[in-house]
C-alpha cells in the first residue's frame, strides 16, 4: 500500500479538499507547488465551448467534471481480484497495478535490470528516490490540443502513476506493464506515465486502463510523457477499456531525439466519451515515429482523437494511421495535424484516417490537416469513410457465412492492419479479444 493515503471520498472540484490533499506532499514542496499551479491553471481556464476550433465536432455540452471524487483505498478482497485480472502478459520486465489511483502492486525488477540502473517505480516512490529526474521531466509540456484545462486538473491531483527510466544503452526486451483500474462509483483517477529512454536505450511499455465493472461511472484524466533520447527505441501500447459510462481524457506528449524510433498503438473500446490528445515532437534529425490507433465504437460512444506531429528537425519521418470501426449511434472524430518547421527539410510525414461505418446512424468526422513551412518535404494525408465492400460481403455470404458474422470478419480484417503492428503476441491477442467482445456487446 502507498504510504501517502488519501482521505475519504473527496470532490475533485473542491478547493479546500485539493489543498488538503496537496498538504500531504509537504515533504516534497516542489511537487506540492506543481500541484497548486495545476489547480490555479485549472480554475483560470474555461470549459471548452462548441465553437472552440480545437473541439470542433466534439459534444462539449455533455462535458462535465462535477460529481467525481478521489476514491478511498480498495478492500483487500478487491485488490486480490483485480491483481489476478492484471496478468495478461506472462513475463513482464516489471508490473505495476493501481486501483482507483492507489498503487496495489509495486514493481519488483529483476536484479540484472536494477544493476543496469533501470528505474520502474510508482510516482510516489519516485518522489522519494528520484526527485531530480522528476523535476527535470515531469509535466514539462502544455496540452496544446485543447485539453489544457483537463491536464491542469490532472496536475492538481497528481499522485498515481509511474516513472520508467532506462539508462544509456540498456536494452530491455520484455515489456513494462502498467494497469490502472477504476472500481468505486464516481471515482476520479489521474494516471500518469513518465518514460525516459536515454541514448540508445530500448524499451517496450504496455498501459492498460480498465474498469472492474462494465458500467461504473468514472472520470479518468491520464497523461503520458515519453522522452526518447538519441537512437533510443520506444514501443508503447495503450489500451483504453474504461467502463461504458466513463468520461476519459488521455493527453500524451512524446519527444523524439536524433535517430530515435518511436512507435505507439492506441486501442480504444471503452468510455462513454474518450478524448485522446497525442503530440509528437520530432526534435532530432533521423527520427522515425509511427503512430497507430484503432477503435471499435458502439452505442452512443464518442471517440475524439486529436493528433499533432511536429517536425522541428529535418530528415525525419513520421507516419500515422488511425482506423475506426463504428456501430450503432457512435461517433468518432479524428483531427490530425502535421506541422513542418521552416528548417525541417527532407521531412517525410504521412497521416491516414480510415473509418468504417457499420451502421447508418454512426457518424465519422475527419479533420486531417497539414501546415508545411519547409519546401523540400514529402507530406500527405488521406482520409476515407465508407462501408464494408459489398463484393467482399457477397463473397463471404455466398460461402454460407451469415451477414452479421461476415460483417464482423471484414471489420476485424480492417482493424488487423494496426493490430499486426503490436509486436508482443500476448498483448496483440488481448487487444484482439477485447475488440471481439466489443462486437458482441451490441
Amino acid at each position: 500500500m502507498d504510504t501517502l493515503t488519501s482521505p475519504a471520498l473527496t470532490g475533485i472540484l473542491d478547493s479546500a479538499l485539493q489543498s488538503a490533499d496537496s498538504a500531504q506532499f509537504r515533504a516534497y514542496d516542489w511537487f506540492a507547488i506543481l500541484r497548486q499551479q495545476g489547480w490555479h491553471t485549472f480554475q483560470s481556464l474555461p470549459m471548452p465551448k462548441r465553437d472552440d476550433e480545437k473541439w470542433r465536432f466534439s459534444d462539449t455540452r455533455t462535458l462535465s467534471l462535477s460529481g467525481y471524487a478521489v476514491a478511498p483505498a480498495p478492500s483487500e478482497s478487491e485488490v486480490a481480484k483485480l491483481f489476478a485480472r492484471s496478468q495478461f502478459i506472462s513475463r513482464p520486465a516489471g508490473l505495476i497495478v493501481h486501483v482507483d489511483g492507489h498503487c496495489i502492486h509495486k514493481p519488483a525488477l529483476a536484479p540484472e535490470l536494477t544493476a543496469q540502473g533501470v528505474i520502474f517505480e510508482s510516482l510516489t516512490d519516485a518522489l522519494r528516490h528520484h526527485p531530480a529526474l522528476l523535476k527535470q521531466y515531469l509535466l514539462k509540456h502544455k496540452a496544446g490540443l485543447g485539453g489544457d484545462k483537463f491536464l491542469a486538473l490532472h496536475q492538481a491531483w497528481l499522485r498515481s502513476g509511474y516513472l520508467l527510466h532506462i539508462p544509456k544503452g540498456v536494452v530491455v526486451a520484455q515489456p513494462f506493464v502498467s494497469f490502472h483500474w477504476t472500481l468505486a462509483e464516481g471515482a476520479a483517477v489521474f494516471p500518469h506515465a513518465l518514460v525516459i529512454a536515454d541514448e540508445l536505450a530500448q524499451v517496450t511499455i504496455h498501459d492498460f486502463h480498465l474498469s472492474a465493472q462494465p458500467a461504473t461511472r468514472a472520470l479518468a484524466i491520464s497523461a503520458c510523457d515519453i522522452h526518447a533520447g538519441s537512437g533510443a527505441k520506444v514501443h508503447r501500447l495503450a489500451v483504453q477499456g474504461w467502463s461504458s459510462t466513463t468520461q476519459s481524457f488521455q493527453i500524451d506528449n512524446t519527444c523524439g531525439g536524433r535517430d530515435s524510433l518511436i512507435s505507439s498503438v492506441h486501442a480504444a473500446v471503452g468510455s462513454r466519451r474518450a478524448r485522446l490528445e497525442n503530440i509528437v515532437r520530432i526534435d532530432g534529425p533521423g527520427a522515425d515515429v509511427r503512430l497507430c490507433g484503432i477503435s471499435v465504437a458502439t452505442g452512443e460512444q464518442e471517440f475524439d482523437q486529436r493528433t499533432l506531429q511536429i517536425h522541428s528537425a529535418g530528415n525525419a519521418k513520421s507516419d500515422l494511421l488511425f482506423k475506426n470501426a463504428l456501430l450503432d449511434k457512435s461517433r468518432t472524430i479524428f483531427s490530425g495535424l502535421i506541422k513542418v518547421a521552416p528548417d525541417a527539410q527532407q521531412t517525410d510525414a504521412y497521416q491516414t484516417n480510415r473509418n468504417l461505418l457499420l451502421s447508418t446512424e454512426a457518424e465519422a468526422d475527419s479533420l486531417p490537416g497539414l501546415e508545411i513551412l519547409a519546401n523540400d518535404v514529402k507530406c500527405s494525408h488521406g482520409a476515407t469513410t465508407g462501408q464494408v465492400n459489398p463484393e467482399e460481403l457477397f463473397y463471404l455470404r455466398a460461402r454460407g457465412i451469415p451477414l452479421a458474422v461476415a460483417q464482423e470478419l471484414l471489420a476485424q480484417g480492417f482493424l488487423e492492419e494496426v493490430l499486426a503492428k503490436v509486436e508482443n503476441e500476448e498483448a496483440a491477442a488481448t487487444v484482439r479479444e477485447m475488440l471481439r467482445v466489443k462486437f458482441h456487446q451490441i
Binding site: S312, P342, P368, L370, D376, G382, Q387
Partner: protein
C-alpha cells in the same frame, strides 16, 4: 522547443508593397457616401440606387448582423485584423472613380499586359486610366442575342426592380445575411454584379462574361451576383480576367449565389488577379436541385489575402457539385481557398480538386468541408488537394473537415505536398532549358489538368501568367 514561428511568417506577409495600389481620390464629389460604415451610408447607397423599401430594410438588417458578428480569427488568419472598416469607402458613384494617368501605371504592369497579349485598347481600362473601354458594341450585340432566348442579364438594382418575381425569391436565400461577417457586410452595401436568369431548357452557347457588362458601370467592390438556371437550362459564367486589376479599394467582399433548378447546369469560372494590397473575402455558394450540376472553376493569383470557399448545397436527388481550384501565392500573399460540399439528398456526388503553388514567402491554404448527414444514401465525395512548394520559405496548409453518416455513403480525401523534383529540373536543363524555364514548365505541368478545364483563351493566358509569376523564383 523549436515550435513553428508563425508570427515571423505573418510579419513577412504584411510587408507588401503598398505603393502599387496607392492612387488618389478626388475630393469634391457631388454625391459622397464618405468614409466609414453607418446606417446613413447604407441609406445613402439605397437612395442613390432608387431601391424599394424592402431592400433598404434588408441592407439595414444586414448591417446590424455585420456589426454583431465577430471576426473569424479563431480559425482564420489574424491578418484580418488589419482591415480598418472605418477607413473604407463603401460606395463610389459614377465620377468617383480613381483618376490616374498612364504614366503612373507601374512599368511591370505595362510589361505584364504586353506579355499577356492584352489588346491595346483594353490596357488603359485595365490599368484604371480610363474608366471603360469601348465594349458597348460587344455587350449590346450579346444582349440582343440573349434577349431573343429570354435570358435576363442585368445588374442587381435592375434585376430586383424590373424582375422581382424571378430574383426576389432567391436573393439572399442561398447565402443568408448571417452566413458570415463578410456576407453580412456585402448584404448591407452591395452594388454592382450580375443578375442572370436562364429560362427553362435554354442552353446558352457562349459563356456570359461579367467583363463585358460590368465595365459599363463601376466594377463593384461589393459585387452581388445571382444566377438562376431554370429547369434544364445550361449556362457558363466567367468573372474576372487574367490581367492584373489595379484597385484603390483594399477590401473586396462579393457574394455570389447560384441556383440550378431541376436538371440545370451552371458553370462559374473565376480568375482573380487583384493587386497585392487587396483583401478579397468572398462568399460563393450554389444550390443544385434534382439532377442539376453546379461547377465552380476558381483560379486565384492576385490579392494580399483571399478567403474563398465556393460551396454547393446538393439539395436534389442525383445532384452533382464540383470545385476545381488553382491558387498561386507569391511573396506576401496568402491564398486561403477551398470548397464546401453539403450533401442534402440521396445519390448526390461531389468532387473537389484543388492545386496550390507557393512561391517565395507565399502561403496557400486549403480549407474544405464535406458534410453527409445520417438520413442519406449513396452519396459520394472525392477530394484531392495537392500543394507544390517552390522556395525554402514557401508555406502550405491543409485543413479539411469531413463529416459522414448514413447508408452506403463514401468519401475519400487525399492531400499531398511536394516540391518540383531535382531530377525533373535536371532533365530539362540538360536539354537546354534555363532553370527558370524548367521550373515554370514543371509548375505548368502540375496544374495542367486543371487549366485544361478553363475556356481556351483563358487557359492560354493562365499559362503565361503562371510563367510570369514563376520568373525570378529560382536561381
Amino acid at each position: 522547443m523549436a515550435e513553428i514561428d508563425e508570427s515571423q511568417t505573418q510579419r513577412e506577409a504584411i510587408e507588401v508593397d503598398r505603393s502599387k495600389g496607392d492612387f488618389k481620390y478626388e475630393e469634391n464629389y457631388a454625391f459622397d457616401a464618405g468614409v466609414g460604415l453607418s446606417p446613413s451610408v447604407v441609406d445613402y447607397i439605397s437612395k442613390v440606387k432608387g431601391e424599394e423599401p424592402w431592400i433598404l430594410e434588408f441592407r439595414q438588417k444586414a448591417l446590424k448582423t455585420f456589426e454583431s458578428l465577430p471576426m473569424p480569427t479563431h480559425w482564420a488568419t489574424t491578418d484580418l485584423e488589419n482591415i480598418h472598416f472605418d477607413k473604407i469607402r463603401y460606395y463610389l458613384s459614377k465620377g468617383q472613380k480613381p483618376v490616374r494617368t498612364w504614366e503612373e501605371v507601374p512599368d511591370d504592369v505595362k510589361a505584364t499586359f504586353e506579355r499577356l497579349g492584352i489588346p491595346e485598347s483594353e490596357r488603359k481600362f485595365l490599368a484604371g486610366v480610363e474608366a471603360q473601354f469601348d465594349s458597348e458594341a460587344v455587350y449590346s450585340r450579346m444582349k440582343e442575342e440573349l434577349e431573343k432566348q429570354g435570358v435576363l442579364f442585368c445588374g442587381p438594382t435592375d434585376g430586383l426592380r424590373d424582375h422581382p418575381e424571378i430574383f426576389r425569391r432567391w436573393f439572399g436565400k442561398v447565402i443568408p445575411v448571417g452566413d458570415n461577417k463578410f456576407a453580412a457586410l456585402n448584404s448591407a452595401v452591395f452594388s454592382g454584379g450580375s443578375f442572370i436568369y436562364i429560362p427553362k431548357g435554354v442552353k446558352v452557347a457562349q459563356p456570359l462574361q461579367a467583363y463585358f457588362r460590368i465595365n459599363a458601370e463601376n466594377f463593384g467592390q461589393f459585387e452581388r451576383t445571382l444566377i438562376i438556371a431554370d429547369e434544364g437550362a445550361e449556362v457558363t459564367y466567367m468573372e474576372g480576367c487574367t490581367a492584373p486589376k489595379f484597385e484603390t479599394a483594399t477590401l473586396h467582399s462579393a457574394v455570389v449565389e447560384l441556383v440550378a433548378l431541376k436538371g440545370a447546369k451552371i458553370q462559374y469560372i473565376t480568375v482573380q488577379n487583384w493587386s497585392a494590397n487587396v483583401f478579397n473575402l468572398v462568399t460563393k455558394r450554389g444550390v443544385a436541385e434534382e439532377g442539376a450540376e453546379v461547377r465552380w472553376i476558381d483560379c486565384n493569383i492576385g490579392s494580399r489575402l483571399t478567403m474563398k470557399y465556393p460551396g454547393v448545397v446538393l439539395r436534389g436527388k442525383g445532384a452533382r457539385g464540383e470545385v476545381l481550384s488553382i491558387a498561386l501565392a507569391n511573396d506576401g500573399q496568402h491564398q486561403d481557398t477551398g470548397a464546401k460540399m453539403i450533401h442534402a439528398a440521396d445519390d448526390t456526388t461531389s468532387n473537389i480538386i484543388a492545386k496550390s503553388i507557393s512561391v517565395g514567402t507565399g502561403r496557400s491554404t486549403y480549407r474544405g468541408l464535406v458534410h453527409i448527414p445520417k438520413t442519406l444514401k449513396n452519396c459520394r465525395n472525392n477530394t484531392e488537394c495537392d500543394a507544390l512548394l517552390i522556395n525554402e520559405h514557401s508555406r502550405t496548409d491543409t485543413y479539411p473537415a469531413i463529416s459522414v453518416r448514413g447508408q452506403k455513403n463514401s468519401v475519400q480525401h487525399e492531400a499531398s505536398v511536394s516540391k518540383v523534383s531535382a531530377e525533373q529540373i535536371f532533365y530539362m536543363m540538360q536539354r537546354g532549358l534555363s532553370e527558370g524555364e524548367a521550373m515554370s514548365l514543371a509548375v505548368n505541368g502540375f496544374v495542367n489538368d486543371l487549366v485544361k478545364e478553363f475556356p481556351m483563351e483563358y487557359s492560354v493566358e493562365l499559362k503565361r501568367l503562371i510563367e510570369l509569376q514563376m520568373e525570378g523564383s529560382v536561381g
